[in-house]
Amino acid sequence: MKLFGLVFVLALFGFGVVMMRIEINRSGRNISQLQNEVEIKEARNQYLQLEISRLSSPGNITRLAQEKLGMVPAKPHEIVLLEEK
């Protein structure tokens, strides 16, 4: 009886260890997958931010304003400030 109890406890312990191991592995995979997704999103975000910087560069804006909208730089005396700083 004593032996049976011992074996049962050991089996229970072993089962617990196995279950824990499975859970750890599953969580590890989830974490890894999430980390991968985060990395992908971060890479995408960084790329898009770079695109924003590129597109909002003075050279690009000037080119678009001149080519697409036919704008020309204003002469300083043509600018009227509505409110003095």
Binding site: Y47, S53, R54, S57, G59, T62, P76, H77, K85
Partner: protein, 565 residues
């Protein structure tokens, strides 16, 4: 059964056998233990340094670099995390499918990949610094059968979102993220991640595991320039257009705030990373230097603005055999403003002689010529101002109109800013602030007065004299509607290789400031050896005008000349 004599020292009972077997079994771990002990004690240094080297070599390549930004926080240089794609041949399941996938994703010919495959023993990089969209595609299949054997190694790439803009100032860093030139080199320590603080371990498959306590981004600083990216763009585009139009070899355009000494733009053309001509170009300034000689003489009181100078029939023999001619006018006497308006070498030479070699030398030095600025840009030149004890009479006279001295653009613009701001030489600044990890901000561009060079009244007089140059003299092309503009043209002959001065090789320049009533910007434009329009007034003054107009418009500076149409 076999029996041993009783006298035999070997007793083969069970106990002895077990002991012997135990000893044999223990022998192997004992050897291992001894070896480990030896390695830990005597070979510790060698192995630990090997391990450190392996990790730190990796970290050195992988480390993040701080940003370089303009004064308003626009990113001029930043590190973007990219990846290199490698193949571990041993783990690849289906060579053909993997090569096909890589070829399609990376946009590379199959043959290129197969060639690399053949050459590599086991591992090889297919592509370095791949774009995020490609990285995403590859990382999505990493855990599938197709992705086995593929590896993505993180690394940083230095990106300049504004293209070549300010690249001459920013400089370059190498693939290991070390600054090689320009600001990248000057502030390498601040911009680099301190890898001595970055602890890491290598995991089983070679991945780097960073110490949890220290995030990667914590130990880099961001460097903010005083340069405004928009002003820089204006200066660069106007300069590029001018250099190409007149067929010059090089061009420099610098914009400075005269009251604070801040450099708002410093453009060089052609652009070479880390080679800013604003600091590195040395030249004889020619007539733009007359402002220095004349203001010094006025300040010393040896000449008054109303004085008339005899032109000696526009053919002045300084010393025997050395004749200076003024072919641009037919007047016998010129006042000081007229000397500047007509850019008379005879007038400026005579004024320099009146001031004397010693006084002129000290004024030139006081204006900051012959000395490097505190910016200490890499490769910055200090110019050349020979000691006055070695000057002859001819040397003194020629220095009055800008020959026999070598200056840098940054020295000249700073001297003009001193004239503009009431006579005080300011410390020029290119770095506005450094933001360290953890939020500490070090302000670098606080206005620093180096010394008073001119009296306030001399500065006021010179402003009017220089204004008359733009309104009635050689600088008419720099006039801006609605604004009082002051400046001086310069057309200097270049030294020829054969000795003496080359008659057809010039440096055309214009330096000035506006609005005269309250100068906000000083602008210097230099065109080196223009093929056509070799005069400062025709080649450089229009570029000055274009840049100054845009600066005034950008900052919303109100006109100070109200009676314009």
């Amino acid at each position: 059964m076999f029996k041993r004599p009783a006298s035999s020292p070997f007793v083969f009972n069970v106990k002895s056998r077990m002991r012997a077997a135990g000893m044999v079994i223990l022998l192997a771990p004992l050897c291992i233990f001894v070896r480990l002990f030896y390695m830990q004690t005597f070979l510790y240094e060698e192995f630990s340094s090997k391990a450190e080297r392996a990790i730190y070599n990796y970290l050195a390549e992988d480390r993040l670099r701080g940003k370089i930004l303009d004064v308003n926080g626009r990113e001029l240089a930043e590190s973007v995390r990219t990846h290199s794609c490698g193949v571990n041949k041993r783990y690849v399941q289906d060579k053909n499918k993997t090569v096909q996938f890589l070829s399609e994703t990376l946009g590379m010919p199959k043959k290129t990949i197969l060639d690399k495959w053949k050459r590599a023993s086991n591992f090889f990089f297919v592509a370095k610094k791949i774009k995020p969209d490609k990285y995403i595609k590859i990382s999505q299949i990493l855990r599938t059968r197709l992705g086995q054997g593929l590896e993505l190694t993180p690394e940083y790439e230095r990106i300049h979102p504004y293209g070549e803009s300010a690249l001459d100032l920013i400089g370059a860093s190498n693939s290991k993220n070390y600054g090689l030139s320009g600001i990248e080199q000057m502030y390498n320590r601040e911009l680099s991640q301190d890898i001595s603080k970055k602890r890491a371990k290598r995991a089983r498959r070679g991945e780097i595991i960073y110490d949890r306590k220290l995030k990667e981004e914590l130990s880099v600083a961001n460097v903010y320039l005083t340069v405004d990216a928009v002003a820089q763009f204006y200066a660069e585009s106007a300069l590029k257009k001018a250099v190409e139009e007149v067929g010059a070899e090089h061009g420099v355009a610098v914009v400075q705030e005269p009251k604070t000494g801040k450099i708002l733009a410093a453009a060089s053309y052609p652009v070479k990373d880390g080679q800013s001509l604003a600091f590195q170009f040395t030249y004889e300034p020619g007539s733009t230097f007359k402002t220095i000689a004349v203001s010094s003489a006025l300040d010393a009181g040896v000449v008054r603005v109303t004085d008339s100078i005899d032109m000696d029939g526009r053919k002045w023999e300084i010393a025997r055999g050395v004749v200076v001619r003024d072919n641009q006018h037919e007047k016998d006497f010129l006042s000081v403003p007229e000397i500047m308006q007509l850019s008379s070498n005879i007038g400026a030479g005579k004024i320099a002689l009146e001031l004397g070699a010693k006084n002129l030398f000290y004024y030139i030095k006081a204006f900051g010529f012959g000395t490097k600025t505190d910016i200490n840009f890499n490769g910055e030149s200090k110019g050349n101002v020979p000691p006055y004890s070695k000057w002859t009479k001819v040397d003194t006279a020629t220095k009055g109109y800008g020959y026999g001295v070598a200056v840098t653009p940054i020295q000249l613009i700073n001297a003009y800013s001193a004239v503009a701001n009431g006579g005080i030489l300011m410390q020029p600044h290119i770095i506005d602030r450094i933001e360290y990890a953890g939020g500490k901000v070090e302000k670098k561009s606080k206005p620093v007065k180096i010394r008073r060079v001119l009296k306030q009244e001399t500065s006021d007089t010179m402003k009017k004299v220089l204004q008359s140059v733009v309104e009635a003299g050689s600088g008419k092309r720099a006039r801006i509607t609605g604004y009082q503009v002051a400046g001086k043209t310069g057309t200097a002959e270049k030294l020829s290789k054969e000795g003496g001065y080359a008659k057809r090789s010039h440096v055309a320049s214009f330096c000035g400031f506006a609005p005269v009533s309250d100068p906000q910007f000083t602008v210097l434009v230099i065109l080196d050896n223009p093929a056509k329009y070799s005069f400062g007034g025709t080649a450089a003054a229009p570029v000055f005008k274009e840049i100054m107009e845009r600066m005034l418009a950008m900052k919303g500076i109100q006109p100070d000349q109200l009676d314009f149409e």
